[in-house]
Structure formats: C-alpha cells, structure tokens
Symmetry: C2
Subunit: 145 residues, 2 copies
C-alpha cells in the first residue's frame, strides 16, 4: 500500500526529470511510511542512522524539489518550522492546540467560498487553505487526569 505510493512518487520524479538519488529515495520513503507531517529537522534526524553524512541542506533542497513538482505540500502554521505532507489527495487538517498533533479529515471542497471571494474582490482565485484547531482526545483525557 505505502509501497505502491512510493513507486508512484518515484515515477513522478522520473517524469519530471528529477534524479532519483539515495537521499531523495529515503526522504520520500520516510514521508510516505511515517504517515505524519514531519518537519525538515525531524526527517533529518530520522535518517541520521542510514545517512550519517547527509546534510540538512540536502533535506531542505529535496523537500523544495518535491514541493515544486507537486509531490508534497508545505504546511506553514504558527510555529517556527514548516511541515511537509505527501498526501496529495484533497483534504484538510485539524490541529491540536496542546500537543500539536495534526489529523487529516475530508470535507467537500469549499468551492462556494472561492467563487464568492472572486466576485467580491476581483481576484482570480487559484486555491484556498483551511485548518481547524482544537483539543485532541488524548489531551482532553490528560486534562481530567
């Protein structure tokens, strides 16, 4: 399952004329298998074992390459560092305000909002972003100790 997604991602790299280096393979694999929304530094640390000599710059460079060919989304929340999401299906995120956990959820795309915004502002709309914030189950339980 995640194996297939990795193959598809590698295929996309080829089609885009991007070389498949061991480092790129590893970053992609981690993004897909971790099923999370890691920061560049988390990826860097996770791959330290396999690639003791890999530079942080390589992680950043490759994440940018992946983003530019549409393979991953860069998520910028209030906190200091970007997170990267390789789930390319349309979906939204809900974020826990206590622990920072990010959970995916689906919602029929907000086309109405886009067309209204277009009418009111005269912009040519390309896309939108939306996140919901709240407290996750784990953190609710902890609060009640």
């Amino acid at each position: 399952m995640s194996e297939r997604r990795l193959q598809e991602a590698l295929e996309t790299l080829k089609e885009s004329g991007v070389r498949i280096t061991p480092q790129r393979h590893a970053v992609l694999e981690y993004l897909i298998k971790s099923m999370s929304h890691p920061t560049a530094d988390e990826i860097y640390k996770a791959l330290e074992g396999k690639f003791p000599n890999m530079s942080v710059a390589t992680v950043y460079n490759n994440l940018r390459v992946f983003r530019d060919i549409g393979l991953v989304r860069e998520l910028t929340y209030g906190d200091s560092s970007s997170r990267f999401d390789c789930n390319t299906e349309k979906h939204y995120h809900i974020i826990c305000e206590k622990c920072g956990k990010i959970v995916d959820f689906h919602y029929p795309s907000l086309d109405e909002v886009e067309s209204l915004a277009e009418q009111v502002t005269g912009f040519d709309v390309t896309h939108h972003r939306m996140e919901v914030y709240g407290i996750c189950n784990d953190c609710k339980k902890k609060e009640q100790h």
Copy 2:
C-alpha cells in the same frame, strides 16, 4: 472612526491591566490607522521617526501582549514573517500570490466544517482559519502589460 477604535483598544488595555506606554500607543495607532496587515518590522520602521530609540524587541513584545489579550490576530503565511491584524471582527483574507497584497472579505462563518471535523476526529474544536489565494486586479493588469 479609527479614532474611536483606538480609544476602544486603549480601554481594552486598561481593563486587562496592561500599561499604556507611548510605544504601545503608537503601535496600536499604526495598526488601526494603516488599515493593513503589517509585519513587526514594518511597524518598527514606520515608527522610527517618532521613536528613534525604540527597540525591535519592544514591537515584538507588545504585539504579543496585544495578541494575548485578543486585540490583534497574528497571521502566519508561508513567507518568513508574521503579519498582524487588529480587525477583530470575524472575516477572512484573500492573498495575492504575485504581490502579497492581503484583502479582507466576509463569509458566513464555516460552522458546518467545524462541527463535522469535531464529529469525525473527536477533537473539541475551538476555531478555524481559512485563506483564499489568487491574483489581484493590479497584477492581472500588469501581466497583460
């Protein structure tokens, strides 16, 4: 009009037990009168004339104070620095991908999304954020030269 909003803001500071210093007064005044969504550095530079000795730290500290008492919203987009919005009415933003301009627009709040997310994820939802992206009129005209 903006004079009244400034008075209200100062009142809020008093009620929250936050001292009204000349620097705070000036930052608030700039936020309200500029009608824009400035970065901390923009505010700092704009007030350089009146307060040649004001420290950047003061701007950051006070923006945090204002945010914590609900007087301004901190907007974090993909770009490097936060922007600050002292319009506390509920509204959304549309952002130009070419020039970065931010324009307000209104839309009936997306309560449905919040309650669906709550059901699906088990979170206690507190709020959400949404932005629409596109190309503004000015930039469209420039493209056609």
